[in-house]
Amino acid sequence: MQYHTFTMLAFGLALSVASSAVRADEKVEYGQYLSGSCVTCHQLSGADNGIPAIVGWDKEAFVEVLNSYKTKERENKAMQVIAVGLSKEEMEALAAYFGSLKPKE
């Protein structure tokens, strides 16, 4: 009985880990698609030349900054317009994708 429960628990845990991993992958894939609009200005290499680098950021910080453009707390007309057009899901996907990248040396 104990063994059976343990197996079920382990199986359940494995399933939930697997499904959250799938969700994370999907977020990164969706983020990669959405990033097409970002990368002409925010370079994937992490170079920051008049436009800040956004690679390798903490995901929550990323979403927070985008939200602060959405509420117009932060100034930058282009970013405000872009952020207004992004849903929470899209911001999280972008955060997942850019967060997964490392700046080039």
Binding site: Y33, I51, K77, A78
Partner: protein
């Protein structure tokens, strides 16, 4: 009954025909190889589309890019070169990485016709390039005859349009630098619709910046076929602040239109007045690059209608048109737009060929213009694919009275963007 290639393949497959039979080899070979995408035009739209398809298909799609020039000089930022703020070679970009890092077959040749029935592009050299999907990104051509009676291609050597970059940009700069002290520089901007709506006015700003330092008594006259222009209030405010008294903008409607241009004597005759120019920039009306018309993709206005969700041509389900030549409705004809449309197109093409995921189309554009060193302005928007056309979802534009720090930051953003977009296009 005439067999299509597909029917022949199916029959050949069913009959278990082996390789070795002449015609069968070609057809059989074609059906077993990777899907082929051909891109006509290696400018901002075409090169972006080629790179994204090659990169995101991970080698699953064979991409051929047909582009006559071996080094691409961007039209955007050419005004900064003309104004002396940027060097010429910084505008130039090579196709090397697209060939060596992305495995794209870069063919330096002209696409002369498209046989849409056979799905083959015919090149100037005579080579025939088959496609499963074709992306046409030819940019613009100029309608010289639309300027005034007798105006032709020959006149671009004296009054450069520099509305395609490279040699013409260098020529225009030489004309500006060679103009006599205290002379008159004249510009005729194009009528709507044209590539880069704020471009002629940024150019005027940059020329004025050059004159301010090197030819302070020079005058600039603009004879505009339009009654208003992009970011007009912002430019006029900037001209007043930086180049007071130098620039005179006149709509041709108030002069009765441009009747004739005498290139030899530098005379521009309108109904009311004749203007004498010591140097000039004449930008004729724009139209789609010729290949789009030859391929039958353009409407009677000379631009190519597309399906907004994918940039697919409304004329042919296997052909896509992106960039300046497309009817992209609310999106201005710009490099930023071409690059944005290319990515939507690349995603749609990969979806059709490899069943990869296709997300809803999203587009964006930002146009930065430099009025004077460190005084930059911008205008832009985000867009979605509406049911019938591309529609804006939100817009922004700079405002008069912004402080110098913001204007400087706006300019610096544009420099960062130039680096970013050219890497995004050429690798």
């Amino acid at each position: 009954m005439k067999l299509t290639r597909r029917e022949f393949n199916a029959a050949a497959g069913a009959a278990g025909l082996t390789l070795g039979l002449g015609t069968a080899t070609q057809v059989f070979g074609a059906s077993h190889s990777k899907p082929k995408v051909v891109v006509i035009g290696g400018g901002t739209g075409g090169a972006t589309a080629a790179r994204y398809i090659a990169k995101d298909s991970k080698g699953g799609i064979e991409v051929t890019l047909i582009e006559p020039t071996k080094r691409y000089y961007t039209c955007y930022f050419s005004n900064l070169y003309i104004g002396g703020l940027r060097d010429y070679e910084s505008l130039g970009h090579s196709y090397d990485k697209l060939a060596s890092e992305y495995g794209i077959n870069v063919v330096h040749d002209w696409a002369v016709t498209v046989d849409r029935k056979k799905k083959v592009v015919v090149l100037g050299s005579g080579s025939m390039v088959p496609y499963d999907k074709l992306i046409v990104s030819p940019g613009i051509d100029l309608k010289f005859e639309s300027v005034a009676e007798g105006y032709s291609l020959a006149d671009q050597a004296i009054f450069p349009h520099a509305w395609k970059s490279g040699t013409q940009a260098k020529l225009l700069k030489a004309k500006i630098e060679g103009m006599k002290q205290g002379g008159t520089f004249l510009m005729v901007p194009p009528p709507n619709p044209f590539r880069c709506p704020p471009g002629p006015y940024e150019r005027i700003s940059m020329i004025a910046n050059y004159f301010k330092k090197n030819n302070p008594k020079a005058k600039i006259i603009i004879l505009d076929p339009k009654d208003k222009f992009s970011k007009m209030g912002l430019f006029q405010d900037g001209w007043e602040r930086h180049y007071k008294g130098m620039i005179d903008w006149q709509p041709l409607s108030s002069l009765g239109g441009l009747k004739s241009v005498d290139t030899a004597n530098g005379e521009f005759k309108t109904d009311l007045d004749t203007f004498k120019a010591d140097a000039a920039c004449v930008i004729p009306a724009n139209t789609s690059g010729q290949i789009a018309k030859t391929a039958g993709l353009a409407n009677d206005k000379g631009w190519c209608p597309i399906d907004p969700a994918s940039m697919k041509s409304k004329v042919d389900g296997d052909i896509y048109v992106i960039g300046d030549a497309s009817v992209a409705s609310a999106m201005p004809k710009s490099g930023f737009s071409a690059n944005s449309q290319a990515k939507v197109c690349a995603m749609a093409v990969r979806g059709e060929l490899t069943k990869s995921k296709v997300f809803p189309a999203k587009f964006a554009n930002t146009c930065w213009s430099l009025i004077a060193p460190d005084d930059g302005i911008k205008v832009g928007a985000t867009y979605k694919a509406g049911a019938k056309k591309i529609e804006p979802t939100a817009k922004f534009i700079s405002k008069n009275g912004e402080d110098a720090d913001l204007r400087k930051a706006t300019y610096e953003e544009s420099v960062g963007w130039y680096d970013g977009i050219t890497k995004d296009i050429f690798g």
